[in-house]
């Protein structure tokens, strides 16, 4: 009980410390978005702290002492800001229209309860939560890497398992409730983040409601939400990255690049696909801002800590990824696979089937964008999506496994990871077209009246 209380107090202190940093780095972003950025950065830091405890092979009590020291250190600097923050005069009553996202989350909760399973999908119980159980034992967790079987996937990054293990340690048992609650918290954050990001962007609430509707009304998106896998966490981080990037471009407030770098690089700590996202995002970000040195410097500075964490994991602990390990031993077959035209046809067919079967709303959105704003397809976000899919295609093309099986079991999850970001960037793009059109109409009316 004392352990739980100390951990909880530390989490609250960490949230406040990160809130102070976010308030400094993203001062003009809306309050709800500041709150979400605070939560996202805090859970990432929590995961890093737990990983440090694992590297040092220390029990949870020692980790809590380390955690307390870190919090006391930042409290020394953030104390004046906290006093100001907790002044009751600063409290504001929220907009009554905010009942809509709450209702949406309630609907998602009902879906989650009726369609989710106790232990989640295969990947959740066989991989993510099993890894978490290894991390639950900080002195012997490295035995996770002793399992030579490919299906153990010990090379998977540890953000989700370390968070589950941290909360298991808090409650002092490995209850299945913990991964469920954690998973649900992530699921609830995605639509709320999308809603508040769109609400902050446009005076007309239609766009925010529309974004919310696209997520909540999508059966397959909801189904994947209840899987309890790390894809949901990655989906949240990718969405956050695009929101912060948009804020950076709009506000020109260069400090936001620190947060952007941190969030993008943290994707590598969630899933291996996050590494591809980080590399692609970074390259396109650098190309589009090659004259803007402060952006690049601050982005790199922000990404240093997550990069150190992922490199230390991959270099000193993780075995080689199963795809890379198998491909290294079959170079001639690899060349044959790349030259095989039928594999390309299979890939295209299965991409189309998966898109239409699972994400038909995205297809409609895609067609709508073709009609109203073709410029969208040349903009920052879609270029990142193309390159990510090119990367996935190369992986499928060279896969040592059965091609159809590999696409069938993974492609829908890759789409799921970028789906909220696609909705966000498309609605932002359409919203600005509408704003420009209405501005032109207003100007024409004014000219006629004159």
């Amino acid at each position: 009980m004392i352990q739980f209380a100390i951990a909880l107090i530390n989490i609250i202190l960490l949230l406040n410390g990160v809130a102070a940093i976010i308030n400094y780095l993203l001062p003009t972003i809306s309050k709800p978005l500041q709150l979400f950025a605070t939560i996202i950065l805090s859970v990432t830091v929590l995961s890093f702290i737990y990983f440090v405890g694992l590297i040092l092979k220390q029990e949870f009590n020692i980790l809590l002492i380390l955690f307390t020291v870190i919090n006391l250190l930042h409290l020394y600097w953030t104390y004046p800001w906290l006093l100001k923050r907790f002044n009751l005069k600063n409290l504001t009553v929220h907009d009554t229209y905010d009942i809509v996202p709450i209702a949406a989350v309630l609907l998602m909760t009902v879906f989650f309860v009726f369609h989710g399973s106790k232990y989640g999908d295969f990947d959740a119980w066989a991989l993510w939560n099993t890894h978490a159980k290894f991390l639950y034992h900080p002195t012997t967790w490295t035995r996770m890497f002793e399992d030579p079987t490919i299906m153990s996937h010990a090379d998977y990054p540890l953000m989700l398992p370390s968070l589950v293990a941290f909360f298991w340690k808090m409650v002092n048992n490995t209850s299945f409730i913990v991964p469920i609650l954690l998973s649900f918290s992530i699921i609830a954050t995605i639509p709320l983040l999308l809603y508040y990001a769109l609400k902050a962007e446009f005076k007309n609430r239609f766009y925010a409601y529309f974004g919310l509707l696209m997520l909540v009304a999508d059966y397959h998106f909801q189904l994947l939400n209840s899987a309890q896998c790390a894809d949901t966490l990655l989906s949240l981080f990718i969405l956050s990255a695009f929101i912060i990037h948009h804020y950076l471009k709009q506000s020109n407030f260069t400090n936001a690049a620190y947060v952007l770098g941190f969030i993008c690089a943290s994707c590598t700590w969630i899933k291996n696909e996050g590494e591809l996202f980080f590399v692609v995002f970074t390259v396109i970000f650098f190309i589009s801002n090659y004259k803007n040195t402060p952006y690049i410097k601050k982005y790199l500075a922000g990404s240093i800590l997550p990069i150190i964490v992922i490199i230390s994991f991959k270099e000193f602990f993780s075995p080689v990824n199963d795809l890379i390990a198998t491909n290294n031993n079959r170079i001639p077959k690899l060349i044959h696979d790349i030259k095989d035209g039928s594999r390309y046809i299979t890939i295209v067919k299965m991409y189309a089937t998966t898109l239409i079967d699972n994400f038909w709303m995205a297809v409609i959105l895609f067609l709508y964008m073709m009609l109203v704003n073709r410029g969208f397809f040349k903009s920052f976000a879609p270029v990142i999506f193309y390159l990510m899919f090119l990367g996935f295609t190369i992986i499928y093309l060279t896969t040592p496994y059965d091609l159809s099986w590999h696409i069938y079991t993974s492609f829908y999850r890759l789409l799921y990871q970028v789906y909220p970001s696609l909705i966000y960037t498309a609605i932002i793009s359409v919203g600005y077209i509408h704003l420009e059109t209405s501005a032109c109409l207003t100007l024409e009316t004014a000219t006629i009246t004159e």
């Binding site: 119980w125 099993t130 034992h137």
Partner: protein, 98 residues
């Protein structure tokens, strides 16, 4: 529903838990089953996660899961440490005779 049980985890859990307390912390434990199902190994691993449990039949100590509707396998050079069974399964922890 959240109480939906995928892959019979709770059944396996109830069967393995009584046997698990006999697994010594510093010994490697192998796995053997009558259906040779890798998913079953992952399922048991997800329940117990003993840090020394591996898909390997060559260790001195083995966790054996036998399905009653399949022909049971014999382990003549082993002695039984612990056994637990229900209407479908027999879960045994056995160790090689010295």
């Amino acid at each position: 529903m959240l109480n939906k049980i995928s892959f019979g985890i709770d059944q396996i859990d109830a069967e393995v838990k009584p046997v698990q307390k006999y697994m010594l912390p510093d010994t490697h434990i192998g796995f053997d089953t009558t259906i040779n199902d890798y998913a079953l190994y992952l399922e048991i691993k997800s329940i117990i996660t003993p840090q020394q449990f591996l898909f390997n039949k060559n260790f001195d100590t083995l966790l054996v899961v036998q399905f009653k509707d399949k022909k049971p396998r014999q382990f003549p050079n082993y002695r039984l440490i612990s056994k637990n069974e229900d209407k479908d399964l027999i879960v045994s922890l056995i160790t090689r005779l010295k």
